[in-house]
């Protein structure tokens, strides 16, 4: 009975919002009037932020956030998963093929030249995954950021192609010896086998990968750079600055927290399903 009442309320609310759309700010009004929110999400899974279920349907924290945004706006959600990398999703948003991207997207100055960004809904540390044998033979311990940047002048570091990490590392160390991977899983397995002795990525995905693949802990070791943060935000088409304001207020009701063992998402219940 409560579900029926809730659905009726939402149905009524959607009519109310559509009727009121003409009073909305310019960047939001046409979107609400169209009745659809197109959200870009890249094709690879980045658990727990983006996952694909057995039926091929997208899920994960980012999709839950997108669903809550659409529900709040009173429009239908359409997930567009056609692009393979985060950089490609940014281009998709810039072209206007999608309205926004909620896709574990890092804010970078270069990307900010093409799209608008909300405030971060997740701040994570940049993280190294190191082959344990390499660490032991180097004398153990985790490097400082400075030592890491000096080291990768010669020692190769694995990195996900089309990710913000490429830009970050090359900005800090132009001579970095990058080994680019198209798949996160391929990069993780390369570190395990020693094909590449280390990889550079965000903490959320690497901790989740190790939790899902416990054998990796035997062969690899995580080192975090807590003061070198990676801010994850929603990318918005440049023609919709008012939508950014709306999303920033909406994000007041969203908390994504990451620690060493797990990442949790909390959305205020009246915005969540």
């Amino acid at each position: 009975m409560r579900t029926v009442v809730a659905l009726l309320t939402l149905w009524c609310a959607s009519f109310t919002l559509a009727a009121a759309a003409q009073d909305y700010l310019p960047g939001v009004a046409d979107l609400v009037a169209s009745g659809e929110l197109k959200v870009g999400v890249f094709t690879w899974d980045a658990p727990p932020m983006i996952v694909t279920d057995e039926d091929g349907k997208a899920g994960g924290y980012d999709v839950r956030i997108a669903e809550a945004i659409a529900r709040t706006l009173g429009v239908k959600l359409t997930i567009v998963r056609t692009e393979k990398t985060a950089n490609a999703v940014i281009e998709q948003v810039a072209r206007g093929d999608v309205d926004i991207a909620v896709s574990y997207i890092s804010r970078t100055p270069t990307r900010a030249l093409k799209v608008l960004f909300t405030r971060p809904y997740l701040s994570q540390s940049h993280t190294l995954l190191l082959n344990r044998t390499f660490v032991a033979q180097r004398g153990g311990g985790c490097p400082t950021v400075r030592a890491f940047l000096d080291e990768i002048d010669g020692t190769p570091v694995g990195i996900l192609n089309g990710s913000a990490h490429v830009e970050r590392v090359l900005h800090a160390q132009p001579n970095a010896n990058l080994v680019r991977y198209d798949s996160f899983d391929e990069m993780m397995q390369a570190v395990r086998s020693g094909a590449v002795v280390q990889s550079f990525q965000g903490e959320v995905t690497v901790h989740r990968y190790l939790a899902d693949h416990p054998a990796m802990r035997v062969f690899t070791q995580v080192c975090e750079f807590p003061r070198w943060t990676d801010n994850i935000a929603i990318a918005v088409n440049g023609r919709r600055p008012e939508l950014v304001d709306f999303l920033n207020v909406f994000l007041d009701h969203v908390v994504v927290s990451a620690d060493h063992e797990s990442t949790t998402l909390t959305i205020d219940p009246w915005y969540d399903e």
Binding site: R132, T133, A136, G139, P214, A215, R217, V218, H260
Partner: protein, 422 residues
Amino acid sequence: MRRLKLTDPKIIVAGTVVGGLIGTYLPSVGLALKPIGDLYIAMLSICILPIMMTALISGTGEMLRHPSLRKTFPRFAIVYVTTLTIPCAVALAIGWLIQPGAGLSAEAVTSLGQKMSAAAQSVPTPSIVDFFIGLIPSNIFRDLTTNNFVSIVVFSILLGIGLGFADAPACEETLRVIRTLFAAFSRIFEWILAPLAIGLLCLMAGVTARIDGEVFFSLISFFIAFYAAGLVVFFIYTVALIALRRIDGLRALGGLREPLTMSFLANNPFIALRPTISALVDRLKVEDDVANMAVPFGIIAAQHGQIINVILVTLFLANLYGIDLSPVDIATLAIAGMVGGTAVIGGGATLAPALAPILASLGIPGDLAIIILAASEQIVGPLISLLTIYAAATLVLLGRRDPATAAANRGTPPQSPSGDGA
């Protein structure tokens, strides 16, 4: 009569088997019995430190004050160093033969990885200088309160040497007082020892209920290598004792049955300290001063099972990570294994600080070591305890003079320190 029944090796084994069955088939009962077992082991520990100190001080002092016994010191030193190489060589050979960490299944590696998830901390790597500083009894009162056994042994031997060489009339009296204290503590220990079978039943019930089956099977090659090495070392010592005519045939070794059984089943060599001295003095006719000095020293410094453990854990990790050890690495492991394995008291994760510098020097990742040591403690610990007692007994039997000569030189037949008689 009643005490003899409950400390008889057959009764002890029966009690342990019953405890193991309870822990396996009724784990909730096993876990409920575990505190009683822990309480019993704590009670047994009451007298271990006083017995060890008084035995070492009086044994060393008496030996040095006796001109003929004093001559045996160099012999003991040679036997001690020589026997250290045996577990080392055997462990290296068995490890090379079995390759305990090679070809682990994906399930076995996953099982180990799950344990690492729970304990994702680096093994501390103390410097070798800190390690040796820790052996010096700079504050014996602090060492006594923190159970720093190695420092206590060093202090007791030094005090024994001082009393042995000091030219003061009261030295003889002091040694007699210490010897009396040793006899008193030994008597208390024997009273507490009476319900040993019941205590071990409770202890084993709790231990069996807690054994992690998944980790056990992932380390099965390691356990096979460890027990193979341990049995080979046991065999070599037995052959050496018979061939060198230090015991009168294999049957004479039956005298050590009680301390060996006790140390194995209780997973604690210290509990068998007093019974080992008694067995050597009463049944194998060792001079009591020699036994009092060498057995406590051997239990601390001749932990041959620990040497095997250190070397095989290192080889397991080298196999697992696909690291080929050069001849120089093997030599480093041999020397470091002998030093590290004998200078650590306690099993399981307590061995990690000694193992960490060895692994670091060989470039082998060490974080998994603490998991292996903790997970394997209940399996390898009993054999480590047994080998420690057997190595201490072997040290005494190989290091002592010929029994007939000893008795003739002293002019009296060997006597038990507790006055129980041979």
